[in-house]
């Protein structure tokens, strides 16, 4: 068991589904025609594009002509944001959140330098935005609101339906970065008040290098890449046919399995959470347990540092990620956890497990058995964890007593 890979980092990227590989292979081999060409050989590629577009649209409850293929989630986000802003150049206010993925967060910071007023909405200690604060931020100058559907680190699901409704009321376009949500929770664009929605293939068992942007019919659009007439002039550049086909197949599979995400995957995640909290003292779940993606568990362990935990898990073949400073390449812990006000005593020791429909019970068992030993080992050498032997049991009892009183 310890030799096999236990991959619990599906919010970072996912493995290619075998059916997806099967679907894309012909277009990597014999079917290399350019969909823009006139002969029948290229017609196969064109048909494949059409089919994929319908598959993506079906998963989202959208119309095929509302789907634009891009190279990744980041490109989809940038395309949407610039489309909306350029359509109303006189308006100079942009609203987003402090917990966005860098794809949008960095755009916000950049726009600030370009003379925009940018509101970065805060979150409470569970990572929830406040609709009141949002409503107060909206004004006549607001050109666009961009909010993630679900947070990549905590899995928190934001109230995009309510936010979208408020945007409609004020006539403000609304973009949603749904990279983490698509394929994990059911979406119906026909009913949701959302104008733009970004998704990424490699988060739902398609390969890297493919994304899509939903653009509601009638929403303003300006191409991000100019050039040929591909994607009806909305995204120039020869279509990455194998990747587009793969995204279509992955979306069709996701639609079939969306129920599993919310039953099987959720049950495994809940079990992992329950067992870790029970086995490891001074551990807390980050985020909003009531309103979270079914596959994500963000959990913090006091007195230990995330990178050290990850490397010890790596020795066991377990893949996860951390919001600690040491893993981010910067010296600050995760901007999401800090925005939530997670105490520094916990932020440095945060670990994210993200499951997929391929996660097995055996894998969860293995992690639930292994992680407590890893934490024990690191706590044993941590200077913040050295209660005198005789004092320890008494202290703990008194502590839990005082906690329940408070």
């Amino acid at each position: 068991m310890s030799k096999a890979l236990v991959y619990l980092d599906n919010n970072a990227t996912t493995g290619l589904a075998p059916e997806v590989l099967e679907a894309m292979l012909p277009f990597l081999k014999d079917q290399y025609g350019n969909p823009s060409s006139m002969y029948r050989f290229a017609g196969t590629a064109q048909e494949a594009l059409n089919k994929a577009r319908s598959q993506v649209a079906a998963l989202l409850g959208a119309q095929p002509e509302e789907i634009v293929f891009t190279s990744c989630g980041t490109e989809s986000d940038a395309t949407a944001v610039y489309s909306a802003l350029r359509a109303r150049p006189e308006k100079k206010h942009f609203i987003t959140t402090r917990v966005e993925h860098p794809a949008v967060l960095s755009l916000g910071q950049y726009l600030e330098k370009q003379g925009y007023t940018v509101t970065f909405l805060g979150v409470d200690n569970k990572g929830r935005i406040s609709l009141d604060e949002f409503q107060r931020a909206l004004n006549k100058e607001t050109a666009l609101v961009s909010m993630m559907y679900a947070n990549n680190e905590t899995g928190n699901i934001h109230p995009v339906e309510q936010v979208g409704a408020l945007c409609r009321e004020h006539g403000v376009p609304f973009h949603v970065d749904a990279v983490q949500a698509v394929g994990k929770i059911a979406l119906n664009m026909a009913a949701l008040p959302i104008d733009y929605l970004a998704l990424s293939g490699h988060k739902l068992h398609a390969p890297k290098g493919i994304g899509a942007l939903y653009v509601r019919r009638g929403a303003p659009f300006r191409p991000f890449l100019r050039g040929g007439h591909q994607e009806r002039g909305r995204r120039a550049g020869t279509e990455a046919v194998p990747n587009v086909v793969a995204l279509g197949a992955a979306c069709a599979l996701a639609a079939q399995h969306i129920e599993d995400e919310n039953t099987t995957v959720r049950a495994l995640r809940d079990e992992l959470q329950k067992r870790l909290l029970a086995a490891i003292p001074e551990s807390v779940v980050n985020g909003d347990p009531e309103n979270r993606l079914p596959n994500t568990l963000n959990i913090s362990f006091k007195y230990v540092e995330g990178e050290a935990i990850l490397l010890m898990l790596d020795q066991l073949g377990i893949c996860a990620s951390s919001g600690s400073a040491c893993t981010s390449g910067s010296l600050e812990p995760s901007h999401v956890l800090r925005a939530m006000g997670v105490p520094f005593t916990y932020a440095h020791g945060s670990i994210r497990f993200s499951l997929s429909r391929y996660t097995t019970r055996q894998e969860i068992d293995f992690v639930a058995e292994s992680l407590p030993k890893v934490i024990d080992r690191l706590r044993a050498i941590s200077p913040y964890r050295n209660l005198p032997d005789d004092a320890a049991p008494g202290d703990c009892a008194a502590c839990s007593c005082s906690c329940s009183n408070g």
């Binding site: 007195y303 230990v304 540092e305 995330g306 990178e307 050290a308 490397l311 010890m312 020795q315 600690s324 400073a325 040491c326 893993t327 390449g329 910067s330 010296l331 600050e332 812990p333 006000g341 105490p343 520094f344 005593t345 440095h348 044993a380 050498i381 941590s382 200077p383 913040y384 050295n386 008494g394 202290d395 008194a398 502590c399 007593c401 005082s402 906690c403 009183n405 408070g406």
Partner: protein
């Protein structure tokens, strides 16, 4: 993914001399939970020679490996020999550290120095909150930056950040680090590369010895609160069979948990407001508020 050498991996996975030493002759502590790494070094000293060493470390793999390496390197050395070790020696012992992780080796060297100073009864090197603070996010002083530049022949601001963390947070002090770097390099060129101590008076030129009572930065406040808790408040509570734990500091609000007898004591509110908060207000800053964290 960091590229760690085999030696770093080995010392991380199988750390040497890990754990508390109950009968240590000297203890040196650097870092804090807030910064993301901390090292407590224990030494057993006989006839001016380090006969045993152990450590406790909170931090990433390279922090743990640097601590482990340090204890192996100093065992058997005289205090003078040990003090001659630099952070570069620690990094070299491990076959090198990623440049972003060099501050882990600096932490080792600082803990060693702190331990030996306390053993000799010398006052601890000025705490970072007493020197002129350059990086407010990580509490790094001008003195620490100059030392890192001199000992490691640093030549760019980015290197200074990698070795000291200074400038790695909000980035407001990057410009200042650039000036310190330029001054130090110019000074080094004049005085040779011997890493001589700062010429007398040089600090006075740039920073008055007694800076105006500026508002505390978060890191300064954090460090003072921790010191006052450890030195004044906890010993008093422990006399009564209680204890207190610091959970978080958010601005001027200090969150704590009362433990032991204090946790179940009916007058715990009195303890918090009358004793803990008052002591912190007197010793740290008048505006400090203490609240008991509900968990």
């Amino acid at each position: 993914m960091w590229e760690y050498t085999d030696a770093v991996r080995e010392h991380f996975l199988n750390p040497r001399n890990a754990g508390e030493m109950k009968d240590a002759d000297a203890v040196g502590e650097v870092g804090s939970l807030a910064c993301g790494d901390a090292l407590k070094l224990f030494l057993k000293i006989q006839d001016g020679r380090i006969v045993d060493a152990s450590f406790q470390t909170f931090g990433c793999a390279s922090a743990i490996a640097s601590s482990s390496a340090l204890t192996e390197m100093i065992k058997g050395k005289s205090l003078e020999e040990a003090l001659a070790l630099t952070n570069r020696d620690i990094a070299e012992f491990l076959g090198g550290l990623p440049k972003e992780k060099m501050h882990c080796s600096v932490m080792g060297q600082e803990a060693l120095e702190a331990a030996i100073r306390s053993y000799r009864g010398e006052p601890p090197r000025p705490h970072s909150h007493e020197g002129r603070l350059v990086c407010k996010c990580f509490g790094v002083t001008e003195e620490q930056i100059i030392k890192a530049i001199r000992e490691n022949n640093l030549s760019t601001v980015e290197e200074v950040t990698n070795y000291t963390k200074a400038g790695g947070g909000c980035g407001d002090c990057l410009e200042e680090i650039k000036h310190i770097l330029e001054d130090t390099l110019a000074d080094k060129a004049m005085n040779g590369a011997g890493g001589s101590p700062l010429p007398p008076g040089m600090r006075d030129l740039r920073a008055p010895k007694t800076p105006p009572a500026a508002p505390l930065s978060n890191i300064q406040r954090m460090q003072r609160v921790m010191t006052v808790l450890d030195e004044l408040i906890r010993p008093r509570l422990q006399q009564d069979g209680g204890d207190i734990e610091l959970l978080d500091i958010d601005g001027k609000t200090v969150s704590v948990a009362l433990k032991g007898m204090c946790g179940s004591c009916p007058s715990s509110r009195l303890t918090l407001e009358g004793f803990v908060q008052q002591t912190l207000q007197e010793q740290v800053e008048p505006g400090i508020m203490v609240r008991e964290a509900a968990s």
